[in-house]
């Protein structure tokens, strides 16, 4: 059998297709994935989705071509008299096709993961998405081979290939919400219609519930398809055909169970699909990591996976932090927090910051724009957005301005922001939405209108030397927060 496998490996059509597969992988998977932010979860999800499509097409057609070989060469009758049963003989070219495809697949995974390892600042490779891809390669080769063996024709390989691609790529149209049986499709990596999120599997461990169900489905499908090859009368002796029937039954059972399990999945709060029967409670505990912190007046601390965004964000927040550092009410640290995901009707997903459950009171939480769905941003764009969203909140925490604040509090807050170079704010609301400008709902900030006495006081205070302004704030902050300072008392 080993010799037969060696011969089949040498004469397998998959070898001819290797350049095509690698070119396709480069065009639709590698180029796209390495352009994404270097988070392991994002890269692994993109790899699974795209590589499965690339390889499924090539391997289905090749396996169908190899499966129809005996009939095409009109050798079926001659080969029935060989020593090996037909089923065993058929499994060898299938194995050779799958081996070649898997070798190339793992080579492509190594190529992409090596690039990611070079760029990512934290974390490690996720292997479950890779396993789903490998199981898909085996399953689609079995599918193609079974179709090619049963329907040997010049039309079989091309039409089976396109049918496999069609079913794989467009079946996701049937997904509605996280509780869908179609989530068992190997190109689904999480909530459908939501691109891979950097915040997923960064603050909490990767939950492999869905990949486990997908691998189970694909392995079951492979076993069932290969088993069917041993069912016809000429495939082998009675014990062999019984074994083939058993394999088919077990495969169908595994595939059906996996699809059923996928249908029980729900979108978990950490952005991954949780399947109750497969879920490990340990994956609900936050990951332990040592945050990376800036050397600003108030340290800005990020999850180490976001280290590449820290210099720009800390730099954008530094002018405000310099103004408030050391004042009563100022935070001791600014810490990046995780977001929470919730399934909405249809395929909608709500992403919001649920607030700190515990921890030191003098910590100011921030969520980066990259953690919520939206257009891709550069580090500089994210930093600008973070400064715009959080500068007001940081100052408000010290000055105490807000809807019930005194005119003096509002004027001083405006002056501090002006001195920090913040002209216009995007105010984050408790609902997680952001609005720009002075009339933002839920802003909690009363902007100081030009031409008012409060505005004049703000301009006056902002024009003071930094040391004088700071000295005044240190002396009067308690009275200011208590609403006991009037506009006239502001220097």
């Amino acid at each position: 059998m080993t010799r037969l496998l060696r011969v089949e490996l040498r004469h397998n059509a998959m070898v001819l297709l290797l350049p095509v597969v690698v070119a396709l992988f480069w065009l639709t998977t590698y180029r796209k994935t390495v352009a994404m932010a270097p988070f392991w979860n994002v890269r692994a999800a993109s790899l699974q989705l795209n590589a499965v499509l690339d390889f499924a097409v090539s391997v289905t057609g090749t396996a169908a071509w190899m499966g129809s070989r005996e009939a095409r060469h009109r050798l079926t009758d001659q080969l029935t008299v060989t020593a090996r049963p037909r089923w065993a003989r058929l499994l060898v070219p299938w194995a050779a096709t799958a081996i070649w495809a898997l070798v190339v697949y793992f080579g492509c995974v190594a190529w992409l993961y090596a690039a990611t390892a070079h760029q990512a600042s934290w974390g490690g490779p996720l292997w479950w998405p890779v396993a789903v891809g490998a199981a898909s390669v085996a399953a689609f080769s079995a599918l193609g081979f079974a179709v090619g063996t049963c329907l040997p024709s010049r039309f079989t390989a091309p039409l089976a290939t396109i049918a496999a691609f069609f079913v794989l790529a467009l079946s996701t149209q049937l997904i509605h919400g996280s509780q869908s049986y179609w989530n068992v499709s190997p190109i689904v990596t999480g909530p459908w219609d939501m691109a891979p999120q950097p915040g997923v599997a960064t603050f909490y461990p990767f939950a492999p519930d869905l990949p486990i169900a997908q691998v189970m489905f694909l392995v079951g499908l492979t076993a069932a398809l290969l088993g069917t090859l041993g069912l016809p009368a000429g495939a082998g002796g009675r014990p062999l055909r019984l074994a083939a029937a058993g394999l088919t039954g077990a495969g169908l059972l595994a595939a059906g169970t996996a699809a059923g399990l996928a249908g029980t999945g729900t979108l978990g709060p950490h952005g991954m699909i949780d399947i109750p029967a497969l879920h490990d409670a340990a994956s609900d505990r936050p990951l332990r990591y040592t945050p990376v912190c800036s050397h600003t007046a108030i340290p800005v601390c990020f999850n180490p996976a976001y280290a590449r965004y820290l210099p720009a964000t800390a730099g954008a927040l530094a002018p405000v932090l310099d103004q408030i550092a050391g004042l009563p009410g100022a935070p001791a640290r600014i810490v990046q927090e995780s977001v929470t995901y919730r399934q909405e009707p249809g395929n909608g997903v709500a992403v919001f910051y649920a607030g700190r459950s515990a921890g030191p009171a003098r910590v100011f939480p921030v969520v980066l724009a990259d953690q919520v769905p939206g257009p891709a941003m550069t580090a500089a764009q994210m930093a600008d957005q973070a400064a715009s969203m959080y500068a007001g909140g940081l100052v408000r925490g010290v000055i105490g301005d807000g809807p019930a604040a005194s005119p003096a509090q509002n004027a001083v807050a405006r002056a501090v922001l002006t001195a920090a170079g913040v002209r216009q704010l995007t105010i984050s609301s408790p609902s997680g939405k952001a609005a720009r400008g002075t009339d933002a709902p839920d802003s909690g900030r009363q902007e100081v209108a030009p031409g008012t006495t409060a505005y004049a006081a703000a301009v006056r205070f902002a024009a003071l030397p930094a040391s004088a302004r700071r000295a005044w704030l240190v002396r009067h902050i308690a009275a200011l927060r208590a609403g006991q300072v009037t506009l006239e008392q502001i220097p």
């Binding site: 059509a13 001819l16 297709l17 095509v20 070119a23 396709l24 065009l27 639709t28 352009a35 499509l53 690339d54 097409v57 090539s58 057609g61 071509w65 129809s68 009939a71 095409r72 060469h73 009109r74 040997p152 024709s153 010049r154 039309f155 390989a157 091309p158 039409l159 290939t161 396109i162 049918a163 691609f165 069609f166 790529a169 467009l170 149209q173």
Partner: protein, 204 residues
């Protein structure tokens, strides 16, 4: 009579009747698929799958069951190859358009079908000349994946706008149409003059 008999034998030898049935089935499949409610991705990607299926069906008829003896003896072979391939390509585009016209709606219209069917058939004909008719489907199916990806990048930049990847270009785009036309012309010329690179016994 001899001419008609020659055409009939050629068509039967190349499984042209089966190809016509397959084209009708593909067109019916498209019509049924168009009944569904597809999102923006699906509405664009769906016709491309059926166009590629029609193209590979046409290309599969290039396989000769006779190989070298037919090449040596067949004086009319190039003309038969040209005529049958051209007529089948026209039939492929025609059946798809007819299926869509009966109460269906193709999001990118008629020109898109003509361009894609002709271009992908051209890729298949060139693949048949290079890799053999048995593996002629590799070019069109690989191109299908790339084409679907090009459509996907319309929403997710960086957009692939190479004219050689014409499914990603708008239907009225001249560059894409020229590239598809060139590929079809090249494929047709090669298959007419040289035929598919066949090995005896490959074409079932």
């Amino acid at each position: 009579m001899t001419g008609i008999r020659l055409v009939r034998l050629y068509a039967v030898g190349r499984r042209v009747p089966f190809a016509l049935i397959a084209l009708a089935a593909i067109a019916t499949g498209l019509r049924i698929a168009l009944l569904g409610n597809w999102d923006a991705y699906g509405a664009l990607q769906l016709p491309l799958c059926f166009e590629a299926a029609a193209a590979v069906t046409v290309v599969a008829t290039t396989a000769s069951p006779f190989g070298e003896p037919e090449r040596v003896a067949g004086r009319w072979l190039p003309f038969l190859r040209l005529a049958v391939t051209f007529v089948l390509t026209a039939a492929a585009a025609g059946t798809l358009l007819a299926a869509a016209a009966i109460g269906g709606h193709l999001s990118e219209g008629t020109l898109d079908v003509l361009r894609n069917v002709a271009g992908i058939t051209g890729i298949g004909l060139l693949s048949a000349a290079v890799a053999g008719s048995g593996l002629s489907w590799t070019g069109p199916t690989a191109y299908l994946v790339a084409g679907v990806y090009a459509l996907y990048t319309r929403w997710h930049p960086p957009t692939l706008t190479w004219p050689w990847l014409w499914p990603g270009r708008p239907p009225h785009d001249l560059g894409g149409a020229l590239c598809a036309g060139l590929v079809f012309a090249a494929g047709l010329a090669v298959i007419t003059l040289r035929g598919a690179r066949d090995r005896l016994g490959d074409g079932a």
